[in-house]
């Protein structure tokens, strides 16, 4: 087993060597610009891009013509939301999203609010999912777009996408989903989910950084977006700029691999994730899972180790790469907004660790991580005044804290 261990696959993934292999010829050999229509260099590049477009479309049950390549999912989210808001502003100015969305969605919505849009940020329930009744209630005759992520990047919770899609469809409202964490990990089909816009990213899928895609429905309804980057009218006029051919080839290859291996990989990863979870529960008391276990990505685990602070926990496991929901880097000491939204209490948010398992995670690594974390949690609890007080029978919620 090699150290350090990488268990942060929600942040990014290494590029699969098979993907690298597919990309390499497009740097030096087939370097043409797909927009060059009058020579073979351009044709080769175009062919490679169209193959990748088909591969990406196949992963989500779409038609190749419905895939727009972007620089990543942040751009795809920006294009979907800003592009729809601008295109359909005659129809309405109201957007519905949710408090646990990725910043690429939240910040885009905030920007639109400054420009005159109205945005509803739906709360989530204790399990991390939105309430469909609250969604229904939030819809007005000015609502043009619902944007709700497929799977959350911190807690791995899957939103009821098909149900949301049905509601949106019935009301004639566009439905966008950020499927960056879900696509290629769990089955996702644009027709079954009645979704109109889908953001994808290559680097969460064992592809390269700097490339992503936006699915834009062409039929029933035909979705139009106002371009956000102008200059040449590439990608059906929705996203100008010379295509990143090696990156796109990489995204295509990664999508094809994900589709082919999804079922076996998901089964393997969920078994390992459950092993990780069980061992923690066997070893330690007062640990809490954040978010639904039932509606969850197979490779995600997010646990709060009560009475120890996340950053100090990470410091004790410097040969394991995971991430903490505690951002103890400012005077305000803001913990993760996603965990806060679950309503579990800021103290538990400060004690949380996100584990993201992936294609190269092994049982041996899982066991090492459990042993290492268990010993650090025990050590820090010995040092924790909160753990001591709880063991003495003090109710922490009734304490008068001296804040600074």
């Amino acid at each position: 087993m090699k150290l350090p261990i990488y268990m942060d696959y929600h942040a990014t993934t290494p590029v699969d060597p098979r993907v690298v292999e597919a990309m390499l010829p497009y740097f030096t050999q087939h370097f043409g610009n797909p927009a060059s229509r009058n020579h073979s260099f351009g044709w080769e590049a175009e062919e490679a891009v169209e193959t990748a477009r088909k591969q990406v479309a196949d992963l989500i049950g779409a038609n190749a013509k419905e895939i727009i390549f972007t620089s990543g999912a942040t751009e795809a989210n920006n294009l979907a939301i800003k592009g729809a808001a601008e295109m359909y502003r005659e129809k309405g100015n109201h957007i519905i999203t949710c408090v646990t969305e990725h910043k690429a969605v939240i910040d885009t919505c905030k920007k639109l609010e400054k420009l005159g849009s109205r945005v509803t940020y739906l709360p989530v329930q204790k399990d991390g999912r939105i309430s469909l009744d609250e969604l229904q209630a939030a819809i007005t005759d000015k609502t043009i777009l619902i944007t709700i992520m497929a799977a959350n990047n911190e807690i791995g919770v899957l939103q009821p996408i098909a149900e949301i899609g049905a509601i949106a469809k019935a009301k004639g409202i566009l439905f966008h989903t950020d499927a960056v964490q879900a696509a290629g990990k769990v089955p996702f089909d644009v027709t079954q989910n009645k979704v109109d816009l889908v953001s994808l990213s290559a680097h969460k899928l064992y592809g390269p950084k700097g490339v992503g895609a936006l699915y834009v429905r062409r039929r029933n309804p035909r979705v139009l977006l106002a371009e956000q980057i102008s200059g040449g009218g590439h990608e059906r006029g929705m996203r100008s700029g010379t295509l990143n051919v090696p990156g796109i080839v990489g995204l295509g290859a990664a999508a094809a691999l994900a589709k082919a291996e999804m079922a076996t990989e998901a089964a393997r990863l969920s078994a390992m994730r459950d092993r990780l979870n069980k061992k923690f529960h066997d070893n330690l008391d007062e640990i809490y899972i954040n978010g639904s276990m039932e509606h969850r990505l197979p490779h995600n685990l997010n646990i709060s180790f009560a009475y120890v602070e996340g950053e100090s926990l990470l410091m004790g496991i410097n040969d394991v790469a995971v991430s903490s929901g505690s951002a103890c880097t400012s005077a305000s000491l803001e913990p993760s907004y996603v965990l806060k939204a679950l309503g579990a209490g800021d103290d538990l948010a400060h004690s949380s660790i996100r584990f993201g398992l992936g294609r190269w995670t092994t049982d041996e690594e899982v066991d090492y991580v459990v042993e290492k974390l268990t010993s650090v949690v025990r050590r820090l609890r010995e040092m924790s005044p909160l753990y001591e007080m709880v063991k003495e029978g003090v109710d922490l919620s009734k304490m008068q804290w001296v804040t600074h």
Binding site: V308, E309, C328, D346, W401, T403
Partner: protein, 141 residues
Amino acid sequence: MAYSNKVIDHYENPRNVGSLSKDDANVGTGLVGAPECGDVMKLQVKVNPETGVIDDAKFKTFGCGSAIASSSLATEWLKGKTVDQALAIKNTDIVAELALPPVKIHCSVLAEDAIKAAIADYKKKQDEKTGSVQPTAQPTA
């Protein structure tokens, strides 16, 4: 975040972790911070009432590595100091010793608060002890 070697040393080998008896009249306890803010420090001093010198100091901290290091360092500095010398410890001394970055200065502030709170608690106990011989505190019948 990159930690200084001194922070890492205190985190890995914290000095004086533990608890002193809260009921001891010569022990002062300071509990500062809040769980929802991500750090809570408990700092205790045991003072020799004859000399006014801090004989022992213990801490327990819920917080990041810098918070743990700040309180660990504080207990190290407190031992052997008089109560008045202890009150002279400034958070900036802790920042300098541990090379804390700006975003971690609040950890040192918390440690200074904990020292002050522990000594205030000790003084309060001492006042109560001397106060208890006052006739007003004793029921006459």
